[in-house]
């Protein structure tokens, strides 16, 4: 009986997921698209839970609810303020530059022309159809689960996913940290950060809530980091939670962002990657190979790398939210 109910749960969830995704892409108003996308992230986290992947659900929750939603909303606001600034000079400037239709114009995308409808639809249907047929022909389970279990005792941690991430396929995880850093270097190369325009929210409620939430977020982040070695959790989820706490602080007081001098900030940003490579090179010289750990030292080294990675990811996500290099970097 309960597996039939699980099937019902799956169907309702997937119908909701596809519906939200379709409406999100079909909406002419950008804000509605962003809200639908946040809901899409929530339903996606439920899908990962249903597929027995609590780690991924944790990451989707931390990154989807915490980082992507706020990032999209801030981007929409930046687009709006840019469009309003540029229209101030033009003759067809709206009567009140901060008026409703300025908001309308900036965050509105007219429905696409009819002519691209049929080719786009047929192309997408062909690709989707071929993929579904390929997937339905595939045999049953053929994963690497047994191989991972054989080597779990040597991996230094007893949560299989953390073992795969930080020991068996450490090279992928290292490059992933590098990609987060490169994305930030790219955002910084575009120019210095602009003042984050913010609507005033006077009154004690916002600071009060933040005073309650930010410490709890930090404690939760450290707990999730520590739980990573034996239960779902780890560096990326913890980094995303601390990053979200950082974003909350930036949103609360966008004016006085700390003017961190460039070298300590860049050291913190690259700490995860630098430490990972240093330990990897030590592994190359005395251990089993590049990015490998001598078995006796696997657990402590993994913990050190995870702490550094969490710090770097949290800093990088907040810097990506601000999306511009600090003036201190140019001195």
């Amino acid at each position: 009986m309960s597996d039939l109910l699980l099937v019902v749960f799956d169907l309702v969830l997937l119908v909701g997921l596809l519906g939200v995704a379709w409406r999100c892409l079909a909406s002419t108003d950008l804000f509605r698209a962003v809200v639908l996308f946040i809901t899409f992230g929530l339903l996606l986290a439920l899908a990962w839970v249903r597929l027995e992947a609590p780690d991924i659900a944790l990451a989707e929750a931390a990154i989807g609810a915490g980082i992507t939603g706020a990032l999209l909303l801030v981007t929409l606001e930046r687009l709006r303020s840019i469009v309003v600034e540029r229209r101030r000079g033009q003759p067809d400037e709206p009567p009140d530059p901060a008026g409703a239709d300025a908001l309308l114009h900036a965050l509105h995308d007219p429905p696409p022309p009819r002519r691209t409808f049929v080719p786009a639809l047929t192309f997408a249907l062909v690709v989707g159809g071929l993929m579904v047929t390929a997937l339905w022909h595939q045999p049953d389970a053929v994963g690497l689960e047994p191989v991972v279990d054989e080597h779990m005792d040597v991996s230094g941690v007893d949560h299989p996913i953390t073992a795969v991430l930080l020991n068996f396929r450490a090279y992928d995880t290292f490059l992933e940290l590098a990609i987060v850093l490169i994305a930030l270097l790219g955002a910084w190369s575009l120019g210095r950060y602009d003042r984050l325009p913010a609507r005033p929210a006077p009154g004690p409620i916002l600071p009060g809530t933040l005073r309650l939430l930010v410490p709890v977020a930090i404690v939760t982040g450290v707990y999730i980091l520590w739980a990573g070695s034996h239960a779902p959790g780890g560096a990326f989820q913890a980094g995303a939670i601390l990053g979200a706490a950082g974003i909350l602080l930036v949103l609360a007081r966008p004016r006085d962002l700390p003017m961190a001098p460039s070298s300590p900030l860049r050291l913190g940003l690259a700490a995860g990657v630098a430490l990972f490579l240093a330990i990897g090179i030590v592994g190359l010289l005395i251990g089993p190979g590049l990015l490998g750990y001598p078995p006796a030292w696997a657990y402590p080294l993994i913990i050190v790398i995870e702490v550094a990675a969490t710090l770097s990811i949290a800093l990088t996500l907040v810097a990506l939210f601000i999306a511009g290099r600090p003036a201190g970097d140019d001195r």
Binding site: A134, V142, F168, I179, L185, G280, I281, G287, G289, G292
Partner: protein, 494 residues
Amino acid sequence: MNEAAPAMLPLAISGLVALSLALAILATVWPRQAHRIGGYGAVVVTASVLTLSALFLAAGPEPESAATRVALGGWEAPLGLMLHLDGLSMTLLVLTAVVGLATSLYSLGYVHDPIERRQFWPLWLWLWAGLNMLLLSGDAFNLYITLEVVSLSAVALVAFTGTAAAVSGAMRYLLVNILGSLSFLMGVVLLFGEHGVLDLVLLEARTEIGPTERMAAVLMTAGLMVKAALFPLHVWLAPAHGSAPAPVSAVLSGLVVTGSFYLILRLWMGPFAPLATPAFGILVGLLGVAALVWGSAQALRAGRLKSIVAYSTVAQFGYLLIAFPLMLVDPEAWKVVVFFAVVHALAKASVFLAAGTLQHAAGHDRVAEMGAILRARGRTVFALGLAGVSLMGLPFTGGFIAKYLLLEAGLGTILAGSLIGVLWVVAIAGGGLLAAGYVLRMVAPAFHHGPRDAGEAVSPWMDWVPLGLAVVAAAAGFAGTLTLHTLTLTPGAP
């Protein structure tokens, strides 16, 4: 020396990866010295790649067991990641090192502002490290990750100048790159779903012709064709390469696009080898002819120096598509195609660098008004001409050897009875003619009478590096035998 070499090889491979990553991190953490780290680092990386190639050749492996596979972290194939070095990746590593060194030295003179140096060099070193790792990687998912490292840093470098053309070109390039990577990743996921293994060599042993392989082949090849700007999916190339800084467009046209082509070749020689059918080959060949004609036509019409060179990249990559049907008939022809890609990358990089110097001197790069600058700067025009000659394929240059061998393979197909072979031969010869057209269009104003104006002073790096690279591109002809010998050391290749 002979028995020590194979033992040293795995250490040298891991050492090269660690070195290029360490340089990138050092430049990121210490931005004020980033240009010095980049300059000296480029020399060190090139030296280590050359010693690696010496070790590889000294090990003298026979073709079957040539591939050196290094288990990262000590974990063997199905579980861990393997670095994979064979003739094919060794040749392209040396190419990346040579073009990388030339571009780094050129950038020392090109990027002079202290603020911009701090942003340029970390991104460039990450791009170079990404290319090295892409060429050495032997795991399907790891290829996706290295492709992401290469594309993100390449997009950031394209948007570096900050003009409207550069940023919109970079935006289009980023969207195309992410689409290509996702399509590639979906192919990898389908293969993993079918076989449960990610390592390329293990995949090659297990793939047979089935719906999953066919769909994965379509998705991965389409994703890589988007990144390699092969004909039907090349729209993003001209605005991105045309408006990027000169050293960046040299690397993009030379290495990044060639890296994606290398991956297509690696996949179609490995896991997807049984899927290549003659009809598919002819289709790809026809796309190549279309690329050749369209690219050359655009190059002949373009108004700006860099646009000409960017469109010529699209045209020359038409050759690589034409070579695909040739490979189906005569499997040995794949070595010629790689040699052509190497020579093209060297020549294209030097042409872009020379164009950058001319643009710096003139303040603009509209071809019609470059006469005075061309007449005054003989050294750069000579570099432009020498590399152009190699692009055209005149005798004694690398381009000539490559085109000659391609023609030989084309004639082979005609003798083997396929009538379409005539089209390939005509296209290859005609391509050389068209290349002569747009190269001479860039160089011809130098021979007209008229005022000479040296324009703005150019740093010695920017003056001599294009010439050096052009000489190397031309001399690649003499290195033909060594390159083809290295290429034979690729196991699993026909």
